[in-house]
């Protein structure tokens, strides 16, 4: 079989995928900074997620149009490469999103920061009490409950947690099934 797809096409597709990532990451970083300067407040969790999803979709369409514009992509092998390139683009979006949420609310990373603040050494109880700039376990839970409520998964009025809303119930059922199926013992 004679291949019509050379390394140049692979490099072209990869270049466009990287460019789409760069556009997404830069715009997604700059808009919250600009919003904070203008409004004097940080974007909420839901607004941040909404912005990221919107920018991901826009960058996806830009990438799709650019890849479709490459002449060699019309060959049978090219279509497979275009499909793979679009999948690779989404992989980068997921990695970026996961990294950002890890930096925003990573449990272990926060413990490390608190340890650094206390000079590199602390007792377990002191760490637990001073978790997250002194917010403690209460701060950790309230932050997560606020996000769960903002994403319409639970009802939370500040004193009573629950009940679960329908999307929350589905998430809870699926997660419980997988935790049991994979026999995960120590969880978050």
């Amino acid at each position: 079989m004679i291949s019509v797809i050379g390394p140049e096409l692979v490099a072209d597709v990869f270049r466009y995928v990287m460019l789409a990532w760069l556009i997404l990451f830069l715009v997604n970083r700059l808009i919250p900074i600009a919003a904070q300067r203008r409004l004097g407040a940080k974007l909420s969790d839901t607004a941040g997620l909404g912005l990221f999803v919107l920018l991901s979709v826009l960058s996806f369409f830009w990438l799709y149009c650019k890849l479709s514009g490459i002449a060699a992509i019309q060959h049978p092998g090219g279509k497979a490469l275009k499909f793979g390139g679009l999948a690779l683009y989404f992989s980068g979006c997921i990695v970026y999103f996961e990294l950002q949420s890890l930096l925003y609310r990573g449990f272990s990373l926060r413990i490390l920061q608190d340890l650094l603040h206390s000079g590199g050494w602390a007792t377990l109880s002191a760490l637990q009490e001073s978790y997250g700039h002194g917010a403690g376990i209460k701060g950790l839970l309230i932050k997560r409950l606020g996000t769960l409520s903002a994403f319409q998964l639970i009802v939370f009025d500040g004193t009573v947690v629950g009940p679960l809303k329908m999307p929350g119930k589905i998430c809870a059922l699926l997660s419980r099934f997988f935790r049991r199926f994979l026999r995960l013992r120590a969880v978050g």
Binding site: V10, S108, I111, Q113, L127, L164, F181
Partner: protein, 166 residues
């Protein structure tokens, strides 16, 4: 060729899922075993590439690269879901609410339950296993690796956003 690419990726990723499910069911562990799951994923990618090469229309570098990109997407997506299921505090809260008879819980009670549970200690134990901290008695000492990770995370947080709020 697109069909060959999708079929090859499905072969490798089914191998990955099967291996992962079997090991996790047969040998449960306290750690999320991210390194092991990544190794099984890499083996799945190898199988996908080999399958693509031997299938009709698959013996082209473009096809194999497409398969690898598709595999990377699947693995990253799966790891994203898996990390949430394995370690997320929010998921634990959701499951906890599901198992409550009334479906509701006082915030103070939830805080008390969490404070007396061994989850914080478990997390520190996991960090020790990863070489980020060292415990002696009730004291916890950050290691060199933990120090560099904390510093790296701070730089990355400045670069891409995320306030390390925990």
């Amino acid at each position: 060729m697109l069909g060959t690419v999708i079929f090859s990726a499905a072969i490798g990723m089914n191998f990955f899922l099967l291996g992962h499910f079997c090991i996790w069911r047969l040998f449960p562990a306290d750690s999320p075993r991210i390194v092991l799951i990544s190794e099984i994923g890499a083996a799945g990618m190898l199988i996908s590439s080999a399958a693509c090469w031997f299938l009709p229309q698959g013996n082209q570098s473009a096809a194999v690269i497409s398969v690898l990109w598709l595999d990377i997407f699947f693995l990253i997506f799966y790891l994203f879901i898996y990390a949430g299921i394995a370690r997320s505090v929010s998921v634990t809260i959701l499951i906890g609410l599901l198992e409550k008879e009334k479906g509701t819980l006082k915030l103070d009670k939830l805080i008390d339950e969490y404070a007396v549970s061994p989850r914080f200690k478990d997390r520190v134990a996991l960090m020790e296993k990863s070489g980020l901290v060292k415990t002696s008695g009730d004291g916890i000492q950050i290691t060199k690796k933990g120090f560099y990770l904390a510093g790296g995370a701070r730089c990355l947080a400045c670069l891409i956003g995320g306030g390390l709020e925990g």
